[in-house]
Symmetry: C2
């Protein structure tokens, strides 16, 4: 048995995942660790999926409601969705199997701000949580949990659940211990300020305290996280990143940002990678990240002495960087902090840090409303994630996206977004490969030209055409022609492209 | 000269409003006190409007950009709009003249979260502020300002402006002194937690400290606030209020609320009035309000010993209650606190108090997105106000509205809202006279039946018809038929009613 289970009482609970599956029953509400493919349980999802398939094969019902931190992996969200083992899922997903099941109507998905999700569990909005299944690096002598490569909503789940199953994963480095900072706002009516003023402030413990009497099983695993290979930025991504970096420079010139005052929040993807590469050779120094996930580029910035600290709730590394982190975690313990997502994404801390938010999107409209989640209004892509937490409370919020997708069939700028995740009141700056639309201080009508200027040229005439129609509205605060507001999307649904015929 | 101007240096600056108008020039950015018809300058807007008219009469340009706390009054927003004296206005308005000018395109309006508006001025997002015009109860010996019946964004404006004009209004009771609690979060990079844990915590000064050398004029006035007469709740409002109170009771039954744990945020209007009347005879005790405006009903609850404290940024009283407050302000100094709106509406404090938010709306859709601002997508009604600040950070957020308006021509529940101010991720509970739609924990498709159940019966078949069409979508996360999503609104624009013919 692994010497990572230092508590005698919990050593007695070690069993196989198959045995532990007895504790997860039809109709249960189950909270799992896991955030962007890091720190999710590796064994239990598979055996729960098998249990569901067995039940269904015998004509019995079996499904659970699954709560996590964010996305997990094929061997978690993927196998559970494929087995039709889920009735309901929140707050984020990005799995192809699961996306398919959601969009065909086979399971329900609720898209919740990541900063709200654990809090809502604590507040009892979902009723009682039956089981928490949490991956650990090790179990301490006192029976507490040292989390692995993410924290997510694990603390809330472990507090709320009637039963606890711990997966101790020996693939995860024991050196991660000391990197976590576990602190939750006390429950109502005793909430107090989160005592974090700077991204690097540590306020809690390096482990999650649990009630060991709730632990029904400890399962040993040795399996890697889902770490997606790093993709080198393409030309469009580099152009967008260039515009974003120019925007940062222009904020310095305007006296609204200091070269040593950049607090970064960044979504994941090609453009953020290119931004971080660009920062390596920029005038920005002492960069801090207060964000959701630690990416390869942040590790590089730390190594180069350009970034002093990165605070997040999870790693989201390439396999190469994950291995490096596993080997050298102790070296990064001063500069990387993993917090509960209720803290990494907490509105109050985000606002306090004065961070500049930068997130991807599916589409934005001519007035600056943004859609992060749905294709053509109905089809779920991934989900909202923390984009709302950061956008709403950032010093400056920005959205970055190529101006078109699917080989030009989809425009990122449309007359009316088919789903609103971030309103015109929240989004400030949009960036595509054609430049920056800075909407700060602008009434709706003054935003239109800026948004069209960053649209792909092939879509500008169609957008202008819509603006001309809309200008005939009797009401000029936010001129629209609702008869044609969704023409781009309807064309896309009917013909496969947002482009007009002829 | 009034003995309310206790500072000798500033006594030398006393002049008429007409004389002070020399300091407000074409193209200026002007910040004024004022929030929901309380505490706005009474004299300067009129003379600025006259100056604009004179200039226009002489063929000259004259317009300013106007920033306030929220709405003001006919003698402020009204006269300025009527004189075409405004190029740009933020963050809220509710004036008929101004609404008309905005919707006809004669001026620009930007609708900004009230908690963000002062902060954005401080952050320099609008460039330099030229003039701050602020109403005071009195000027202290040290040259500081005791604000009057609202605080709004006055502190940010006074800090940011190059020139200051103070209106000392002897209509406002000197007894208001001591009721204000003036504290701002220090500027970046020195932001710290707001040290408020409970609605009643006092953390600042009772006056606004200013740089007296920036004061260019002091103007004496004696004029009442715009205080709208109290309207007794009608039958529909009482039904809605009854459902809302039942909902609070059900939260107690579910263990999610205590009878002495209700922290109230409330919009203004008939339904809130009815809710507060209902609370008088309820089991709820020691109610606290952490809200934007102090309303008649809160004063009644305080008088009855049902409410321990009400924290806001402004009064919004009937003339009768305003007179009472002016006469007995000292009696309410322990139970009423007026704060800067950046604090009354601060995300971090809202979340910390665990308040239950309750705001009006124009329409909501079958998936729980809410529109607070626009008729048929284009026509501005009032603005967002603090509804987003509270909805996003509340313990429970609710929207209350009659199920129909304009004698049945408008349904409050529609297939797709024509403007999104609060997304499906933010709004939790909707209440009409037909009941409560509690959307917590529900995926989009599970929300539809709940939302239709609170629609007016005459609109339910049309909504069902849309749902049937939408159900044919290939994608089932949020089924829509974008060809017909705005049919309700298009009918309304074309025929004057959302009802179908025949």
């Amino acid at each position: 048995m692994s010497d990572r289970i230092a508590n005698a009482q919990l050593r007695d609970k070690v069993m196989s995942a198959e045995e532990a599956a007895q504790f997860v029953n039809h109709g249960d509400k189950v909270g799992m660790s896991g955030f962007t493919g890091a720190g999710y349980p590796k064994a239990m999802p598979g055996v729960i999926a098998a249990k569901a398939k067995d039940a269904h094969g015998n004509g019995q019902d079996y499904s659970i409601d699954l709560f996590t931190g964010a996305s997990t992996a094929p061997e978690c969200d993927g196998v559970l969705a494929e087995a039709d083992a889920l009735r309901y899922r929140m707050p984020y997903q990005s799995d192809p199997q699961m996306r398919g099941k959601i969009n065909e109507g086979a399971m329900k998905f609720q898209d919740i701000h990541l900063s709200h999700s654990g809090m809502m569990v604590e507040q009892g909005f979902f009723g009682e949580l039956d089981v928490a299944i949490v991956e650990a690096v090790r179990i301490t002598e006192d029976g507490n949990i040292v989390p692995s490569s993410s924290v997510g909503n694990s603390v809330e789940f472990l507090n709320a659940a009637k039963k606890i199953i711990i997966e101790v994963n020996s693939w995860q480095s024991e050196e991660l211990e000391g990197m976590h900072d576990i602190w939750l706002v006390p429950s109502l009516p005793n909430r107090i300020p989160v005592p974090i003023s700077k991204a690097g402030d540590r306020i809690g413990t390096t482990y999650i305290e649990i009630d060991p009497s709730k632990v029904v099983a400890v399962v040993e695993t040795d399996a890697p996280d889902r770490n997606a290979p790093f993709k080198a930025p393409d030309e469009v991504s580099e152009q967008i990143a260039g515009h974003f970096l120019d925007f940062l420079e222009s904020e310095v010139q305007a006296g609204r940002l200091a070269y040593d005052g950049y607090v970064m929040q960044s979504g994941v993807g090609n453009v953020p990678n290119a931004v971080m590469a660009g920062l390596m050779n920029s005038k920005f120094e002492n960069i801090q990240a207060y964000t959701e996930v630690i990416q390869d580029g942040m590790v590089d910035l730390i190594d180069a002495g350009k970034m002093t600290v990165a605070s997040a709730t999870s790693f989201s590394l390439s396999p190469e960087y994950a291995e490096k982190m596993n080997n050298e975690a102790s070296r990064y313990r001063d500069s990387i902090i993993l917090r509960p997502q209720s803290i990494s994404n907490h509105p109050e801390v985000i606002r306090r840090t004065g961070l500049i938010a930068s997130n991807g999107m599916i589409e934005a409209d001519i007035y600056g409303n943004a859609n992060s989640t749905h294709i053509n209004g109905s089809r779920l892509m991934n989900a909202l994630g923390g984009s709302g937490d950061f956008t709403r409370n950032a010093y400056i919020s920005s959205f970055i996206s190529p101006s078109e997708a699917k080989g030009g069939a989809i425009s990122a700028i449309v007359p009316f977004v088919s789903h609103v995740d971030h309103t015109e009141h929240d989004a400030m700056v949009f960036v595509t490969e054609y430049g920056v639309a800075d909407l700060r201080g602008l009434a709706p009508r003054d935003r239109v030209a800026k948004m069209i200027s960053i649209a792909h040229p092939s879509y500008r005439p169609l957008l202008e055409e819509y603006v001309e129609r809309a200008a005939k509205s009797k009401f000029q605060q936010t001129p629209h022609d609702l008869r044609h507001a969704f023409d781009f999307h309807i064309r896309s649904l009917e013909t496969g492209t947002m482009k007009a015929e002829g």
